[in-house]
């Protein structure tokens, strides 16, 4: 299997992926790629995903082979972008009505509720990517002991500020929307405000630490 791959996700949008581990060092290579590619002619936006990169283009790319080769070359150079991001501490009410699946997560992981909260609040998480909905941060750093499957029946209206886990991911929703993740708590943070510049509170490389202010079993 080739190490990198460029595919179409729209007539004017490309996805660049690499066969690489899911960790900060590799994510930093995608941040570097995004920064560089954003300056290329015809590139409207270059947005990092979770160890991948999306390019939004002005026109249909008739030179996709060249774009693909340029991206592969840049990837192979190994260049990384280290971000000295800011650290945001977010107060979380674990469990209760804002975290209805806390007990489920304890059961699924074989941990006590207090241990789930301890494991979840221990790390400093890094924002790997921003996307899905406005201001939402995909975080790296979840303790593998908190890995859970997605829920079979998704919630249709999960309120903004909900803290959830699924797979090896965790995050706080920025606005009300559907979710198939396990919701274990809630926060009161405006992750996106159209009147603010930048509107998104956090960007790739910023860090989050969760502080428990309440645990309701």
């Amino acid at each position: 299997m080739p190490e990198t791959r460029t595919s179409l996700i729209g007539s004017r949008a490309l996805l660049f992926q690499a066969d690489c581990p899911f960790d900060l060092v590799h994510q930093q290579r995608f941040w570097a790629l995004a920064e560089e590619a954003a300056g290329w002619p015809g590139v409207r936006e270059a947005v990092p995903g979770m160890t991948n990169l999306t390019l939004l283009l002005d026109r249909v790319p008739t030179n996709i082979d060249r774009l693909s080769a340029d991206l592969a070359k840049l990837w192979e150079s190994g260049v990384r972008k280290e971000v000295d991001g800011r650290l945001l501490e977010i107060e979380i009410a674990y469990g209760g009505t804002g975290g209805p699946h806390l007990a489920d997560v304890a059961e699924l992981t074989g941990q006590s509720i207090d241990e789930v909260v301890r494991l979840h609040t221990a790390p400093e998480y890094t924002v790997y990517a921003v996307g899905s909905h406005a201001g939402y941060c995909y975080l790296g750093g979840l303790d593998p002991r908190l890995e859970t499957p997605r829920r079979k029946v998704p919630l249709t209206r999960l309120p903004g500020g909900s803290l959830s886990v699924a797979g090896l991911q965790t995050g706080v929703s920025a606005s009300t929307g559907p979710s198939g993740w396990n919701t274990i708590g809630s926060a009161d943070v405006a992750f996106f405000d159209p009147a603010r510049r930048p509107a998104a509170l956090l960007g790739p490389g910023d860090r989050i630490r969760f502080k428990p202010v309440e645990v309701v079993a």
């Binding site: 729209g10 004017r12 996805l15 995903g49 008739t62 899905s132 159209p194």
Partner: protein, 325 residues
């Protein structure tokens, strides 16, 4: 000013969308049928990007306060101005107190109402489109309700013939075809689907289900199975992407699409065909036609040419009118 007397539940103010904020996770929003939106604006002499009212599945009713110009374009809905039948695509004058009635749509799903200069709502992050999930943009970030009033940005009266102005929209379906054809490119996981699934996707129609809105349409048809390749890492998605979740029934992401997702992607509808989905309603059939990048590029040029013709024809007519006055 125009007062809303009756309106279906999900009508919103939209322009061509909010570009340049994908990096913040903010989707584009914008008119689901950008072709009809642009046509309505061009007829009034507006910028193509001026804000219009997107009205899904009429009926709707409006009252004009003050004499003013307006335009309609999109699905045929038996529009009447004080009882007088209007063409499907039309720009003209309304007198103070007149009532505009949009009836049930016989085909298609959305109609666009344009006012001179565009609808006056604040421009936020470079656009006047309503961002429904984030609840900003458009009119107070929400869907419209009876009693709402929309004000035009422009105050001068455009040059319009007394009987109004119209133009022809391209047909939604190809002649003799019951399904709406969408040209699409194979996307990232296309080759992971079984040969039978690929064959079915490109040849059999998929029905639009009632679980369809500005965010995306859920489709129903031959189940699309693929080799098990595990969970994908979250990656960028854009309007037009056709995802296939575990159940094997495709979803097309549309104007209010999320910016990132994790489902396998079988295809991507080309940008100049997205308006056709915007006019598809539950029960309609969609057929995907496989094209390559050269054809996608040609489709973009054809679309540009159509707008150039419209602008040229309207400009010529306005010049003619101007020389009479």
């Amino acid at each position: 000013m125009i007062e809303i007397l009756a309106i279906p539940p999900l009508a919103t103010v939209q322009d061509l969308g909010r570009d340049g904020h994908w990096f913040q996770g903010l989707g584009r929003a914008g008119a689901m049928d950008s072709l009809a939106h642009r046509a309505a604006n061009l007829l009034l002499g507006n910028d193509e990007d001026a804000a219009t009212l997107e009205i899904p599945l009429t009926p709707a009713k409006f009252r004009f306060h003050g004499r003013q110009a307006f335009a309609l374009a999109g699905a045929p809905c038996g529009a009447r101005l004080d009882g007088r039948a209007l063409p499907r695509v039309w720009a003209g004058m309304a007198e103070d107190g007149q009532v505009l009635d949009l009836g049930g749509m016989s085909d298609g799903a959305r109609v666009y109402l344009a006012l001179r200069g565009g609808i006056d709502v604040p421009e936020i992050l470079g656009s006047r489109s309503t961002q429904l999930r984030e609840a900003f943009g458009g009119l107070e970030g929400r869907v419209l309700a009876p009693g709402d009033r929309l004000v035009p940005l422009g105050n001068e009266t455009p040059l319009l013939p007394g009987h109004g102005l119209s133009l022809g929209l391209p047909p939604l379906r190809r002649e003799g075809d019951g399904a709406i054809t969408l040209r699409a490119l194979p996307s990232t996981e296309h080759d992971d689907f079984s040969p039978a699934a690929q064959q079915a996707f490109w040849s059999t129609p998929y029905t639009v289900t009632p679980q369809s809105n500005r965010q995306g349409y859920r489709l129903d048809g031959v189940e699309l199975t693929r080799a098990e390749i595990g969970e994908l890492r979250s990656h960028g998605i854009v309007p037009g992407i056709v995802q296939v979740p575990g159940g094997g029934q495709p979803i097309v992401q549309l104007a209010d699409s999320a910016t990132m997702g994790g489902y396998p992607k079988i295809a991507a509808v080309i940008a100049p065909d997205l308006w056709r989905i915007g006019q598809a309603r539950p029960g309609d059939q969609l057929r995907f036609e496989r094209v390559d990048l050269a054809e996608a590029e040609k489709a973009d040029r054809e679309s540009d040419r159509l707008f150039a013709y419209w602008k040229r024809d309207i400009a010529a007519l306005v010049r003619q009118l101007g020389s009479w006055t």
